[in-house]
């Protein structure tokens, strides 16, 4: 009998039809189970409540889910390369604070994205050049950015430019604008992940790290450091975009609006089947993960259940989904 090394557990040799059915071996990760969960919640809600399927509620659901969807997609870019970005919550708060500073929108909006790109670039440089673990690098960035945000805007207030408010609350051809936000974000992230070499390189880097061969992508000619840096920049810019959306929704700057958002984003990405060890993940899985969380929140509102049981259910779903996809390697 061959020895079962920690990298190759003996039980993985047995055929597991449940795993096969759930698409365990795919590079996209386990996304069918969360899809079933999301559909089950939606079905349950449409049977038990009348409001759920109303057009108003569905548009409302999209508006509620949009910041999480945007942040989670950004987070996925970093998780696919085996990293983690804990600074996105602070970046969201910072973006709303900057938009509420007062001034013309054509200065404020570029400023938000420039600053976010800068934060992402610092994260990326600290991780790739200075050899710091991503959790630590982005955790300290979270503290620093939150501190700066609280200096800019100690309590919530101020007004954001009109164009930001209209872009969230307005309608086009009778359809609320958040729907178009969603389409634009999906197109952009699909282009980055599947329509450009960038996404392919990210999967190559993450796959190498996940299989314990850190330099493998580099040896195949992928500019590892540059792509990792760009992944952090992408993640930060997506967080800034979520911040712009939230600023338009709450019409002011709020230093606490992004608090713990990074954990929600990581939860959504993980529910969607993306592996934290890198190399395995998908865009549609991430969107499904964010939708599961939004559906839970929406359902609790409609059925008047305690909002606190929602947290427990969220954690239980997360445990169930990640518990079903065991990896070859032990670790973070």
């Amino acid at each position: 009998m061959p020895p079962s090394s920690p990298d190759h557990p003996a039980h993985s040799a047995k055929p597991n039809y449940l795993k096969w059915l759930l698409g365990q071996s795919s590079r996209q990760g386990l996304w069918s189970l969360p899809l079933i969960i999301a559909l089950a919640i939606a079905l349950g809600l449409s049977v038990t409540t009348q409001q759920f399927t109303s057009t108003g509620n569905l548009f409302n659901l999209i508006t509620q889910a949009m910041p999480l969807i945007i942040t989670a997609i950004g987070q996925m870019f970093v998780i696919v390369i085996g990293g983690l970005d804990l600074s996105v919550g602070s970046v969201i708060s910072l973006s709303t604070a900057i938009l509420a500073l007062g001034g013309p929108a054509y200065i404020l909006i570029p400023a938000v994205f420039l600053l976010a790109a800068l934060i992402g670039a610092v994260n990326g440089i600290v991780v790739t050049r200075l050899n710091v673990h991503p959790i630590i690098a982005t955790l300290s960035m979270q503290y620093i950015v939150l501190g700066v945000t609280r200096i800019l805007r100690p309590v919530s207030g101020g007004t954001v430019p009109d164009i930001v408010i209209t872009s969230v609350s307005g309608t086009l051809l009778g359809i609320p604008l958040p729907v178009f936000w969603g389409i634009a974000v999906l197109l952009l992230s699909w282009k980055l992940l599947h329509g450009a070499r960038f996404g392919l390189h990210l999967f190559a880097i993450g796959g190498g790290i996940a299989s314990g061969m850190e330099k493998v992508a580099h040896n195949f000619g992928v500019a590892e450091r540059r792509n990792i840096l760009l992944a952090y920049v992408t993640c930060s810019c997506f967080a800034a975009l979520a911040g712009v959306f939230l600023a338009g929704r709450i019409v002011s700057g709020d230093p606490n609006v992004g608090l713990l958002f990074e954990l929600d984003a990581i939860t959504a990405v993980a529910i969607g089947g993306t592996q934290l060890s890198g190399g395995v993940g998908s865009l549609h899985g991430t969107v499904i993960g964010a939708l599961v969380m939004a559906l839970l929140a929406n359902g609790m509102n409609l059925t008047n259940m305690s909002p606190f049981i929602q947290t427990t259910i969220k954690g239980a779903i997360l445990l169930l989904v990640v518990g079903l996809q065991s990896r070859k390697k032990m670790g973070l």
């Binding site: 920690p6 979270q142 503290y143 620093i144 700066v148 934290l276 606190f308 239980a316 990896r327 973070l332």
Partner: protein
Amino acid sequence: MILADRTWQRLRRIPPSYLVFAALLLTLWVLRPHMMNPNILGIFIRQIVPLGILVLGQLLVMRVRSIDLSGGGVILLINYYISSGLFPGASMMTFIAMAIATGLIIGTFNGIMIAKRRVSAVIVTLAVSIVLVGFVQYLSSGKPPGDVPAMFAALYNTKLLGVPTPVLLWIALTLLMSLFLARTVFGRAVASVGENLTAAHFSGVAVERTVIVAHILAGLMAALAALVQTASIAVGSVRVGLDLPILAVAATILGGVVFGRGEGGVWGPFFGVLSFALLFILMTTLGVDEPGKLIIQGFIILLAAIFYGVRSAKP
């Protein structure tokens, strides 16, 4: 030249926390000499004991390349047991036994999920924390529960030989952990698993068991931290201790222990926690406001990690 190399190598092994601690102590001594009073320092250090105890578990799991973010949920749950009045007439020993049992159960669950199921440690412990926090908030409907039995506060406020009892407990636990890691087979196993998982496995180290035991001990430490934290605030809360696990990670890194590497031993992270206490004292006496504290804290963690990352870079 060789001598210089050796000195340099020895210097490079010093965990960042010793340097940060020395620098902060010097700054405090220069700027606010009257604060260098054992009584005042003792009170401040007493407040950081829950973090200090949590760090003992965190450094253990980080040395076996894992992480434990569930401490926040454990602390919240145990705080709820004790303060909610759900168990009227329970003695202090009962509460302590219940807390320790909770810590052991959650630690075992974490360990089995991570070592046997090979699920991501970040996600499992985060999910456990989410479940526990949601559970406590559901039971209490988001309202703070009642008061903590007076015995806890009474014990918390005692002193032995002029040192607050919680601080003595912390030092004793740190000493135990340091002996445990240095003198037992388990300590060797932890070091070898951290160094190289596959090599450890083929050298006959029970890798899975080592990781599970590390997580069980981390759960135990979280339970002890919860008891001290509950005694220190003396009331129930639905928010207590939620930011402690991530601070514990930061203090551990500051102490020279990173995922898989344990050069800082147990005393590096110990001084990492003390550095946080000193930083808090210093910034409070200097009147730095809350945003300033966040920024300074962020920079200190970042600089320590960069200092550590650059020197441990592989050629």
